[in-house]
């Protein structure tokens, strides 16, 4: 998958078009999809939101759970997505901003193998002179904004750690008559410690918007039932 992601350049990608009619087959094996705090309230109406650790960096990453086991996505089928809310990162596809090899610089990349990419249909990326089209510029801006939101999301995780509000949680899933299944490596807000916070800290968390995200995260755990139901219907 990663091999097909390349930095955009007009010489190589001058003829490419991207179909904006949404196809989400690229995510059909993503169990966990990263989300940013700005979309938590919306995402919480559809998916359980939890923290997991990034395997490369160990950092806490906020994700929407879309499956109950690795490589399972209970929302994305043959191209379409069955959800009232679609996380930003999926909507940005096939574009992403990634750090270049040497310099700590971000480059706009495209997934060349994506079903959305074509040489005939959809929106052009470059004009005849090799300049970015307005469409590509808009995509690039959206990616940039997403990176900024991710940075704020990272700070949110730091804030939770600072106040000792994260806790490891084993999720237990019951599917019909099967043995209950457990999922480890998941971290959620510790409700007990939240309730013990002093008034001043609470007021600060409220003012900077963190409290809303905290509650969205807590409520979102109820969506596990939705996942179980979908899984047993498969």
């Amino acid at each position: 998958m990663t091999q097909s992601i390349a930095a955009l350049n007009p010489a190589r990608h001058g003829k490419l078009h991207v179909v904006t009619q949404r196809d989400f087959s690229h995510a059909s094996e993503d169990q966990l999809v990263p989300v940013v705090v700005q979309e938590c309230v919306d995402a919480a109406t559809e998916f359980p939101l939890v923290f997991v650790k990034n395997a490369q960096t160990g950092e806490f990453t906020l994700v929407a759970m879309m499956g109950l086991q690795p490589q399972q996505n209970l929302y994305c089928g043959q191209g379409d997505i069955q959800a009232n809310y679609v996380p930003q990162v999926l909507r940005l596809h096939p574009f992403s901003l990634r750090p270049s090899e040497q310099a700590e610089q971000l480059m706009l990349c495209i997934d060349e193998q994506s079903n959305c990419v074509s040489e005939e249909h959809g929106q052009a990326l470059f004009d005849e002179q090799g300049n970015k089209t307005a469409f590509l510029q808009a995509q690039s801006d959206a990616c940039m904004q997403f990176i900024e939101h991710q940075q704020i999301t990272r700070q949110f995780a730091q804030l939770l750690l600072q106040h000792n509000l994260l806790t490891a949680q084993r999720l237990t899933i019951r599917l019909g008559d099967e043995q209950p299944r457990t999922i480890d490596g998941v971290y959620i807000i510790d409700q007990k410690r939240l309730s013990e916070l002093d008034a001043e800290t609470l007021a600060t968390l409220n003012r900077n918007g963190a409290l809303q995200v905290i509650h969205a995260q807590l409520l979102s755990l109820k969506q596990l039932n939705r996942l179980s139901k979908r899984a047993s219907q498969r």
Binding site: K53, T57, G58, E59, F60, L161, T167, Y187
Partner: protein, 518 residues
């Protein structure tokens, strides 16, 4: 009757690792700055340098750092620290079939169910697997060049048990910063040039060469090998242990890496020499190497040659530091209102990296059993002296064990170590016992000691110590069950060695992303 006077202030004299570790432990428990707290002040000389060596630790350090509230990420980033999973002993036995003898004292204890299989292992005669490899999967991890944990493990947790190698000076600075900024320790720079005592033999005042005076209820002597208060002022006698442990000099060097990406050993390498041994410790930025030798058995020039030979071409242009070592301890560690922690209480060569360990144990014991009033001192001192003397004796025996069960006969040094006249009575009894009986928990129950049964097993059987249990016991060995046990260990070893990250790679990731607190 007047109420006994409360102890409300402590002075720690000395700012080496022992001094700052003690100040941290005291302040953590005694809460300076709070209503009922005890004031903790550390005085160090701006002129007398710290010893500047002491780069190897044992796993107990992790508990201490976590307890004190120091972040593991900070330790690893700021002290050039690396993970230590074992000591690899090289050449501690004579070569057999021209093969260099090597074994690991790994930090992971064997899995709980190992005990019945010990008999099987001891009874196997030919071509048996290494003891450490048969009973623990950690050696496989080390030999694969892997770290004891991954980037997603929380601070101070891992798959394998571990300690650290670090830059001693930087570690001292980290401890100092934590004590001052987070725990409320007062810090004064002064050369203490005179000490006043009262008629009862208590210390009452320290004078600096600038005419300052410092008074406190209790004084902790962390002045290093000088033992300024306990030894020099209170004249507590020193008990030499040179008759058991002959090494008395160290030659230390710092060796740069030739390639910045050179793999870093995850063990301390301890390579035996004709009259001592060489430590080799990999930090992120350099190696620390040193020869410990016995000057009664070897000239300095010959020792330097041994070190040169070990270092190979790396040896040119390196500055060698010579450090005298005096093995033994003071008859009492706590006398009157003076408690010694650190090299001021005694010294044993760093073979099992016991320096910091003993000082950590002493400092924590002092902090947790701290006398409330002057009346408590006598009782607290007696208990402290008894416990610590015991711990020191066990550590001395354990260090000596490495030498005296060797089969090397190539120099007077090794022959003298094997002569049971140079053994302590307790060690001689242990060895005789273990020739007939498997080492067991019975041998360790009364030991509030720092090395346990499992540590002894790795050394004894790593060195092919011969235990010959009674015939009725021998027939009870269950080889089939034991085979299954060894296979489980081997499977796990293979998995762990595959999954864990490479040592330097993990250290670089930690430098960049840090470890998470949970």
């Amino acid at each position: 009757m007047e109420t006994p006077k409360k102890i409300s202030s402590v002075i720690v004299l000395g700012g080496g690792t022992a001094g700052w570790l003690t100040a941290n432990h005291l302040a953590k428990k005694l809460q300076p700055g709070t209503a009922n707290g005890v004031c903790v002040t550390l005085i160090e000389s701006p002129d007398i340098p710290t010893i500047g060596v002491g780069e190897g630790t044992v796993p107990a350090i992790r508990d201490t750092l976590k307890y004190l509230g120091i972040s593991e990420t900070e330790l690893l980033r700021e002290c050039d620290a690396t993970f230590k999973q074992s000591i690899e002993f090289i050449n501690w036995m004579a070569p057999s079939d021209r093969q260099t003898h090597r074994y690991h004292h790994v930090f992971d204890y064997p899995p709980a169910e190992y005990a019945p299989h010990l008999l099987d292992w001891v009874m196997q005669k030919e071509q048996k697997p290494d003891f450490a490899n048969a009973f623990s999967y950690q050696q496989a991890v080390i030999e694969a060049g892997k770290a004891p944990k991954g980037i997603t493990h929380p601070e101070y947790e891992g798959v394998c048990n571990y300690a650290y190698h670090f830059d001693a000076a930087k570690f001292g600075q980290l401890l100092a910063r934590h004590a001052r900024t987070n725990l409320g320790v007062k810090h004064i720079q002064a050369n203490i040039s005179r000490v006043d005592t009262d008629e009862a033999g208590n210390i009452c005042c320290l004078h600096s060469d600038q005419g300052q005076q410092f008074v406190a209820d209790l004084f902790v002597d962390c002045s290093g090998a000088n033992s300024t208060l306990l030894g020099q002022t209170l004249n507590v006698p020193f008990i030499s242990k040179k008759a058991h442990i002959f090494t008395d000099t160290a030659l230390a060097v710092q060796v740069p890496y030739t390639d910045p990406q050179q793999p870093i050993a995850c063990s301390t390498l301890a390579t035996a020499q004709q009259a001592g041994w060489i430590w080799d410790i990999g930090l992120t930025t350099r190696r620390g190497v040193g020869l410990v030798y016995a000057s009664d058995f070897q000239t300095e020039q010959s020792a330097l040659d041994d070190l040169q030979r070990y270092l190979g071409t790396d040896a040119d242009a390196l500055t060698v530091r010579k450090i005298p070592m005096r093995t033994g301890y003071y008859e009492r560690f706590w006398q009157g209102n003076c408690v010694a922690v650190g090299m001021s209480q005694g010294f044993v060569e760093p073979l099992e990296a016991t320096g910091l360990l003993l000082f950590d144990v002493s400092a924590r014991m002092l902090a947790e059993q701290f006398p409330v009033t002057h009346q408590d001192i006598c009782r607290c001192a007696a208990r402290y002296n008894k416990k610590l003397r015991y711990a020191w004796d066990r550590v001395l025996d354990f260090v000596k064990l490495h030498y005296c069960i060797s089969n090397r006969r190539d120099s007077e040094f090794w022959l003298a170590h094997q002569d049971s006249n140079t053994w302590s009575a307790t060690l001689e009894e242990d060895i005789q016992h273990w020739q007939r009986h498997l080492p067991s928990q019975y041998d360790f129950t009364d030991r509030a000691s720092v090395f346990n049964l499992e540590n002894h097993l790795y050394v004894l059987y790593g060195m092919q110590f011969n235990t010959m249990p009674a015939a009725f016991l021998q027939q009870q060995a269950d080889h089939t069950q034991a085979q299954q046990f060894y296979r489980r260990i081997a499977d796990y070893a293979q998995q762990a060695a595959k999954q864990l990250p490479e040592h330097r790679d993990l250290l670089q990731r930690i430098a960049r992303f840090g470890l998470q607190p949970l």
